[in-house]
Structures are given as C-alpha cells and as structure tokens.
C-alpha cells in the first residue's frame, strides 16, 4: 500500500460527481448511464435513438476542455504498448457487450439500484483485473 498515492479527497469528489451524473440521466432522461452501451448504440449496428447518445458522448469528450478552463488536467501515464492497447481494447469492447455493461452501467448504476447481476459482474471484472495485473506486472514483467 502506498499512502503517498492516496488522493482520496479528489477521488471521492469525482465519485460523487459521477454518481450525480448517473442519477441525473436516470431521473431526467429515464436512461442508465452505461458508457459501453451508449457507445455501442452509436455504431452502425446500434439500435434505437442515436441523438441523445451522441450528445452524451460529446459532453464526455468536452469534459477535458471544460476542466482545463479552471484546472490543469491531471497527468496521464499510459504504460501499455500498441499491441497491448489493441488486445485490451478488443477485450473491453467484446466483454462489455456480452456482459451488457462496464464500470459505469454495472459498477455505478447497477450496484446503486441493487442489481445482483451487476454486483456479480463488478466482482468478476474487478477480480479479473486484479489477476491480470498480478500476472502482467509481477509474473510476466510487462
């Protein structure tokens, strides 16, 4: 455990904002703020209304620009190489579609509404993440 990396106040405030956003989309638009589902709905194969999904994603994409008006963006370190990013992206894309959700849809919205499916999904992907990082970082030395 590394306490110098323990930035819980900004983490908690960010989490509260994410929660407020998820509740707003549900109470105002009647929709679950599941990012993987919203993105998939924008693909040519996606069904249903594309306009609100597009605007949601545009809002998401505008966030770093708005954030920069008041603060400087936090440092981002992406250690994965191109091949790893491609494999990871494919797994995240396929996996979130088969599971019907990701960190936002299952982790935030699903757990908040007490869905057993979402609790099981979240425990599964977090555990898979733990094991993957154990293997890549401590066994394979990637």
């Amino acid at each position: 455990m590394n306490l110098s990396d323990f930035t819980y106040i900004s983490n908690l405030s960010g989490g509260l904002l994410i929660g407020i956003a998820a509740v707003m989309l549900m109470l105002l638009n009647g929709r679950i703020a599941g990012i993987s589902g919203i993105l998939a709905g924008l693909l040519p194969t996606g069904k249903g209304d594309k306009i609100w999904r597009l605007l949601f994603v545009l809002g998401l994409a505008a966030s770093p620009f708005v954030y920069r008006l008041a603060f400087s963006l936090p440092a981002v370190t992406i250690e994965a190489g191109t091949l790893q990013l491609i494999i990871a992206g494919l797994l995240v894309g396929l996996g979130t579609r088969y599971a019907s959700g990701c960190t936002s849809g299952h982790g935030v919205c699903g757990i908040s509404r007490g869905s057993i499916r979402s609790i099981v999904a979240t425990l599964t992907f977090v555990t898979a993440g733990f094991i993957t990082v154990y293997l890549t970082r401590h066994k394979l030395g990637l």
Binding site: G14, G19, I35, F56, L91, G93, T96, C102, T132
Partner: protein
C-alpha cells in the same frame, strides 16, 4: 430538452472521471495491483458514486416517467448466465492490461492522448465484432 440534459450529464460524468483520476491508466493499474503497492484511492470513486447513486436510484425505481416525461428504462434482466460472467471476465482482463475502461478512454482520447485513440478504436471494433457475431448466429 432530453438532448440538452444528455450533453450536460455527459459533461458532468467526464468531469467526475477526470477529477477522480479514473482517466490515468497508471492510477487504475495501481488500484488493481493488490499484490504489489496497492493504491486503494479508486475505491473512493466507486464508493462516492454509489453513495449518491443508491439514494437517487431508490427514487428512480418508484417512478413510471422521468422528471422530463421520458419512460424510465431500467434493465429487467436478472439472469446470472455465461454471457455475463465470461463478458465481465474478458472486460476485466482488458481493463487490467491497459488500465482503461470505456468512459475514461473516451475522455483521454478527447484530451488528445494518441494511445487512448488506439484503445478506443480497438474497443469500438470489439463492440462491432460482437454485433456481427450475434447477427451471424441468428
């Protein structure tokens, strides 16, 4: 109006992701590194979100229509099937390899990280592959 709120909610969601450090893959991998120098700070992100969410969704579940008159589209699936488990497993492995999940990847790509673009392109390809595989089955 629903489109305006969708944009504003997307913006707020993205600001939350940036503020909470979810957009930094090295931070995410630090959180997933339970057998190494574990950084627990991201538990506060999910904790904070669920704190607000559990209150909000309790109200939402009782409603037939949203405050703006839209139908409440709450998921109805309850099955714990192979699709859910294997899909979540694959997602978790990808999350652990890159440190990106869908929302933060889009925000990072928008802020001009070329590596995030590679991830997002592969992720969208994965999503499209899913649709093709599922259509082929029918």
């Amino acid at each position: 109006m629903l489109n305006v709120t969708a944009f504003l909610v997307g913006l707020l969601f993205g600001l939350g992701l940036i503020l909470s450090d979810m957009t930094d893959p090295s931070k995410v991998i630090g959180f997933l590194d339970v057998t190494g120098t574990w950084d627990p700070s991201l538990t506060f992100v999910l904790g904070g979100a669920i704190l607000v969410g559990s209150g909000g969704f309790t109200i939402a579940k009782k409603r037939q229509r949203s405050l703006l008159g839209a139908p409440m589209q709450l998921p109805s699936a309850t099955e714990l099937d192979k699709r859910l488990l294997l899909g979540s497993l694959a997602f978790g492995v990808g999350w652990g390899i890159a440190g990106f999940c869908p929302g933060p990847a889009v925000v990072s790509a928008a802020s001009g990280q070329p590596k995030a673009w590679i991830f997002v392109a592969a992720m969208l390809t994965g999503m499209a592959l899913y649709s093709l595989i599922e259509q082929h089955k029918k």
